[in-house]
């Protein structure tokens, strides 16, 4: 495979743009729910600190959501420009589902985001809370449809193939709720919640370390650590179920993740090693006997089909999948560790006086994003060489486009994304560096916020009320 052929460049371009994109939704799905929780807690308890935190994270949400929308716009055209054969063949199945994704995102953006960001004084607390909850629901609906689309590509169901070679729908329920969808949806939603929890925890820990021992920093740190302690173990269990589902439908992917070339009963768990595809083995493997069989088959004697049972052209690139899987699992375990550590400190009454825990939480702040991207690399590289698993090969999906065109657009995307989203990340970090105030200032209404969408911000202001 030539490094600079159109197919490789198109794959790299998709990997780059979608990896960049997934960071923003992962954050905004989690943050939207966090905002809804803060809003609800404030209405329930009337503690000012919840409202102050709501205002604090709302500003960060606005910037992150905006970047997600802009990078998402690129994705909706990427299928056609670089993967036109795929689009033609899968359009009747995937197109309407992506249409629903657009409609639900559109509706959310047009309807409720503006009220959540600007409308509190105009519409009252109850309607404002409903709007916040609807924003959270909208991000969930977006995730629902797009993960259904992805899952269908991994475990296609409810389709037939027509005379033109297109996939057509025979059963919409089977298409939407295809075999891997529930597992992927739960795994991704929990990942979004964990990612956000660690960002929130990292920011809280930072301000605790800086000596801004204010109620806001304490509350956000405490809430984030509850999330780490409760959700990290749930996520590990959910990941295990997702893995079992993958074993059933995509055994080659599991073999690559685990690094198993040979099939034999009582397979070991390979912790680390260097995959050696040429010799079909893992060099320098550090392994625990029989544990792999126990995890994947829930039996000491269970057998896992090794990669050697698949013809070489049907094997995914083992090195990438092997490592990205370990990065994801490693971060998941570290998150669990932080959660347990925080429980211990909380039990001793020293949650806010544990500088080493705070330092670890700051270091782990961006870890969720790394884990999300590593997880997606595992599942997307692991289903190669197919775009629609077992039915449509990646090599047969690509557009008839010259390598020069794909290459130059790839360079343009890389330059533009790093420059512009780098600037956006800089503005977000600048917002995070400010400690939460007792009375957190609202979004400035005399400047536009990109993410605000169609929203009558100034018009929603009650005359005479200074925000």
């Amino acid at each position: 495979m030539d490094v600079f052929d159109a197919l490789t460049l198109a794959r790299f371009q998709f990997a780059f743009t979608v990896s960049f994109h997934i960071i923003f939704p992962a954050f905004s799905i989690g943050l939207a729910s966090y905002l809804a929780v803060l809003n609800g807690l404030w209405l329930l308890t009337r503690r000012k600190v919840y409202f102050s935190l709501f205002q604090y994270w709302k500003k960060i949400f606005a910037v992150a959501f905006g970047m997600g929308v802009v990078s998402g716009l690129v994705m909706s055209y990427q299928f056609g420009t670089n993967w036109s054969v795929f689009s033609d063949k899968t359009g009747p199945v995937l197109g309407p589902m992506m249409g629903y994704e657009v409609l639900s995102a559109f509706f959310l953006e047009a309807g409720f985001l503006g009220i959540m960001l600007f409308g509190l004084k105009r519409v009252g607390e109850t309607l404002h809370f409903i709007a916040t909850a609807m924003v959270a629901l909208g991000t969930f609906m977006s995730a629902f449809w797009i993960l259904s689309v992805n899952s269908w590509m991994q475990t296609p169901a409810g389709y037939a193939i027509n005379a033109a070679g297109q996939f057509v729908v025979t059963d919409w329920v089977a298409v939407i709720f295809n075999p891997s969808f529930p597992y992927r949806l739960v795994h991704m939603l929990l990942a979004a919640y964990l990612t956000t929890a660690f960002v929130v925890g990292g920011v809280g820990a930072w301000h605790l370390l800086k000596g801004h021992g204010n109620p806001g920093a304490k509350t956000m740190f405490s809430m984030a650590m509850w999330m780490a302690a409760i959700v990290a173990p749930i996520q590990i269990v959910a990941g295990d179920f997702h893995g079992l589902n993958t074993l059933e439908h995509q055994p080659a992917k599991i073999a690559a993740m685990e690094g198993h070339y040979d099939s034999h009963p009582g397979a070991p768990l390979i912790l680390f090693g260097i995959p050696n595809p040429a010799e079909s083995r893992i060099d320098y493997a550090l392994e625990l006997p029989r544990l792999g069989a126990l995890i994947l088959t829930h039996s000491w004697e269970g057998s896992i089909r090794g990669l050697n049972e698949f013809p070489p052209e049907q094997r995914p690139p083992v090195q990438i999948v092997f490592w990205s899987f370990r990065v994801m699992v490693g971060i998941g375990m570290a998150m669990l560790g932080i959660g347990v550590w925080s429980l211990l400190m909380r039990w001793r009454g020293r949650l806010f006086a544990a500088p080493w825990l705070h330092r670890a939480a700051v270091a782990m702040g961006p870890a969720g994003f790394v884990a999300v991207v590593a997880g997606w690399i595992t599942t997307e590289v692991g289903r190669q060489p197919y775009t629609v698993y077992g039915l449509l090969k990646t090599v047969d999906s690509v557009s008839p486009i010259a390598a020069a065109a794909v290459g130059s657009s790839l360079v343009a995307f890389i330059v533009v994304y790093f420059a512009l989203f780098g600037a956006g990340t800089f503005y977000i970090v600048r917002l995070m560096k400010k400690p939460p105030e007792k009375v957190e200032p609202d979004l400035p209404t005399d400047e536009p916020i990109r993410a605000a969408g169609i929203n009558p911000a100034p018009a929603l202001k009650v005359p005479g009320v200074v925000s």
Binding site: M98, G111, A452, I454
Partner: protein, 339 residues
């Protein structure tokens, strides 16, 4: 599944996609136009005012573009998979330009020292996006070679004198829409400058629409049939006639310094030009290669998405109308924004 039903659903969807594209051109045309006019109004306070006039609505405007593209993928996957590779460079250029101007809305207010850079990002992004859209339009109208179910041309085919002309026409046309939007939404100095820019962009737009209209029938025998041969001429003839009415209304409105007449006249100008294009296209979705019918996905795909669209689109339109209404009136200068 009788053929009539399939014909109905495909035609309904062609109408809906055409509507999304027209809604996009009319709505986003204003705010792209405001960006195109940025270099002509160098005062910072003027620019603040210009940006604020579109800030609350531009994002919703742009979502029609996602709906158009996503809709095409959903209901006419064959057309989507032919058009996108054929228009590769203009589409990628447009997306990147839209990213530039999109983030400028947010970042411009977050920095003092770097403000000029985001001004350029906004103006450049708007102009390039409009130019790329115009080129894409021209390349589509002049025809796309298709073999089997795939695009069969090279990756520079989109670049022709005709597509450059349509590119310039769209930039100038959007600038006219931008100027007319500013006439409506602003007062004082910005409004006076907008009147001046509306005049020359108005003249240029009319000349360019004329040039494109005269050129188009000679691109393709089927187009020529529609405009110059009896009796199809009868259906097509009202378009140029109404166009002339709009031009007069536009000129009269600008001359008399009316605030709203030019707005509706320009909308009419764009709507009629779009109608003219639809006359040219029908029944094809990729001119002279693929018909609406051939490109349509099966009925159960069309109807599945139609159910949601029938519920959600009216709600979205109602909310859009509401927010334009909520934002009625003039935009003040910054600091004085809501008084």
């Amino acid at each position: 599944m009788s053929p009539e039903i399939s014909f109905d659903l495909a035609t309904i969807w062609a109408g809906l996609i055409a509507f999304a594209v027209l809604a996009y051109v009319m709505l986003d045309g204003f705010d792209l136009g405001v960006g195109i006019l940025f270099p002509f109004l160098p005062e910072e306070t003027d620019r603040d005012q210009m940006m604020n006039s579109v800030a609350p609505v531009w994002d919703g405007n742009e979502t029609w573009l996602v709906l158009g593209g996503g809709g095409l993928f959903a209901v006419f996957p064959l057309a989507y998979s032919i058009i996108m590779p054929a228009l590769y460079a203009p589409i990628i250029g447009m997306l990147l330009a839209l990213v530039f101007r999109g983030v400028a809305f947010e970042y411009r207010w977050k920095t003092k020292a770097g403000k000029f850079a985001w001004d350029w990002s906004f103006a450049g992004g708007s102009t390039v996006a409009a130019f790329a859209q115009g080129i894409a339009l021209g390349a589509l109208v002049q025809g796309i070679p298709v073999e089997g179910r795939a695009y069969a041309g090279g990756w520079w085919d989109w670049l022709t004198p005709f597509s450059l002309l349509t590119g310039v026409a769209v930039v100038v046309g959007y600038a006219l829409l931008g100027a007319i939007w500013l006439i409506w939404k602003c007062e004082g100095r910005v409004q006076q400058q907008a009147f001046r820019h509306a005049q020359w962009t108005g003249i240029a737009t009319v000349v360019l629409i004329g040039a494109v209209s005269v050129w188009t029938p000679f691109l393709n025998e089927a187009f020529r049939q529609k405009w110059f041969v009896w009796p199809t001429l009868l259906y097509a003839a009202p378009v140029p006639a109404l166009l002339a009415v709009c031009v007069l209304a536009l000129w009269n409105g600008l001359d008399g310094q009316h605030e709203r007449q030019p707005f509706f006249a320009a909308l009419g100008l764009f709507g009629l030009s779009f109608a003219g294009l639809c006359v040219n296209f029908y029944p094809y979705i990729v001119p002279s290669s693929v018909t609406i019918h051939e490109a349509a996905a099966p009925d159960n795909s069309l109807s599945f998405l139609l159910v949601g669209s029938v519920v959600l689109l009216p709600l979205i339109l109602a909310y859009t109308a509401y927010s334009y209404w909520a934002f009625r009136g003039k935009v003040g200068v910054v600091g004085d924004y809501h008084h």
